[in-house]
């Protein structure tokens, strides 16, 4: 878990100093942190052994719900 945090910390630090230097738009920060936060959350859950339901299962559920797949 510590390795996961360290990797994300390095990645964010590397990009953040570039964004600040180049004065990026606010929407760049928003989408960047949204994607990174989602990745970090899933990574921590996976590292803790608590695998959440995956998008493949969601997609399968949707197809079952509309009757495409039995």
């Amino acid at each position: 878990m510590a390795i996961v945090l360290a990797v994300f910390f390095i990645l964010v630090l590397y990009d953040l100093q570039r964004f600040i230097r180049k004065k990026k738009q606010a929407k760049v920060y928003i989408i960047y942190f949204f994607l990174m936060a989602a990745s970090l959350t899933v990574s921590l859950l996976l590292a803790a052994g608590k695998r959440p339901a995956s998008p493949a299962q969601w997609i399968e559920g949707i197809f079952k719900m509309i009757g495409v797949v039995k």
């Binding site: 990174m36 995956s54 997609i59």
Partner: protein
């Protein structure tokens, strides 16, 4: 759009790398055993139709990316919503190839290394390539993609003595239905996935070569797939080929007195690398266009990180991945590869037939100016004089 241009040869090699992709290790037609060659031919025919639809869309909307076409044809709101779905699809596709790569490397080459390390290190290199731009990616393809057929030749020629040329008989043992199912699989994976190239086609320097380039890459893929099938089938036999997870790897292991296993890894690195790069490039570019961000490079790291995490998260193990691909993938990809592109083609053709109101008004004004201009009157006089003389 940034002024990056790629030549027809570079696009051809990008397409070859993409089409080969993870089919270096996985054959979508191997379920039909002896009849896979028929499924390959039929699948290629279906794939050709799909790719021609994408080419037609690109030619009807020159210099426009998929996102711009969607926004233009479906309206801003619906176009943006569909674009977001495509962004998800490209990220999902990249994560699938990442997973294939990780599974293969941790099963065959580095069994002690955690999969996330293998995928993560690969992603770092690919992010660097994507941030360098499509031109650099295309130049890298010029350098690396020719290695794939060379490796194929080395493995095939080394096995020329270990072959049984009757291995692909009898024909149609289980009827035509499984062959058609495998052909559909082959048409959607990998041909239908070239929808991602609608984000790359605007960079082609000679638009008139697009159809020829795509056709050539299709033909190359067809020939290579058939040769790989005949080689693997004649070396392994249909039954073993059906049961093996990675057929090409197993074939390479059978070469007497020679270990060419790393060559298969190299092929996967190149093919998989090209495919993931294109998918991630398409996703990042589409995302930046949807949000109105000037430089797509700002989001490459975040999207690639998400894709790596998704590749680990999405399936618990390789068997679940195969089950999902076999059961769900066709229905899932149908809308992205067939329904939406056909709708776009129909709308693009409709738009071309009916000239826009602005265009019509401009044409009328031009005609009026032309009729009033003295130059036009003089021309008209000259013409009538010539007619009289005659």
């Amino acid at each position: 759009m940034e002024k990056e241009r790629i030549s027809s040869v570079q696009l051809f090699l990008l397409l070859i790398g993409f089409l080969i992709g993870s089919t270096v290790i996985l054959h979508p037609t191997s379920t039909v055993k002896n009849d896979a060659w028929m499924a390959i031919i039929l699948g290629c025919a279906g794939g050709a139709l799909l790719m021609m639809v994408y080419v037609a869309i690109a030619l009807l909307n020159p210099s426009r990316t998929l996102v711009e076409i969607l926004k233009d044809r479906l309206g801003k709101f619906v176009g943006t919503a569909v674009s977001i779905l495509y962004i998800w699809y490209f990220i999902h596709l990249a994560s699938l190839v990442f997973r294939n790569y990780g599974e293969f490397i941790t099963t065959a080459t580095f069994p002690e290394t955690p999969m996330v390390v293998v995928i993560g290190l690969f992603a770092v290199i690919l992010v660097y390539a994507i941030n360098s731009g499509i031109e650099i990616m295309a130049r890298l393809c010029e350098l690396f993609v020719p290695v794939i057929p060379a490796v194929f030749l080395i493995i095939s020629l080394s096995l020329i003595k270990v072959t049984d040329f009757t291995a692909f008989l009898p024909i149609l043992e289980n009827g035509i239905a499984p062959v058609l199912k495998a052909a559909v699989s082959f048409a959607t994976f990998p041909f239908g996935e070239t929808i991602a190239f609608l984000m790359v086609f605007p960079h082609l320097n000679k638009k008139e070569d697009l159809k020829k380039t795509v056709s050539m890459s299709l033909l190359f893929k067809l020939v290579l797939s058939l040769l790989i099938f005949f080689r693997d089938s004649s070396v392994l036999g249909a039954d073993l080929m059906d049961r093996a997870t990675f057929e090409t790897h197993m074939t390479a292991l059978l070469i007497p007195g020679l270990n060419v296993e790393p060559l298969v890894d190299i092929n996967l690195l190149i093919g998989g690398g090209v495919k993931i790069s294109i998918c991630l490039y398409a996703a990042v570019k589409a995302l930046s266009q949807v949000l109105g961000i000037n430089d797509y490079r700002d989001l490459t790291t975040a999207v690639a990180t998400f894709s790596v995490v998704l590749s680990i998260w999405i399936y618990e193990n390789i068997l679940e991945m195969f089950r999902w691909v076999d059961k769900i993938w066709h229905f899932y990809s149908l809308s992205f590869q067939v329904i939406i592109p056909l709708l776009l083609l129909f709308l693009s053709l409709k738009k071309r037939k009916e000239p826009s109101k602005d265009g019509l008004k401009a044409k009328q004004q031009r005609n009026r100016r032309l009729h009033l201009s003295p130059h036009y009157k003089n021309n008209l006089k000259g013409k009538t004089n010539i007619d009289k003389k005659h």
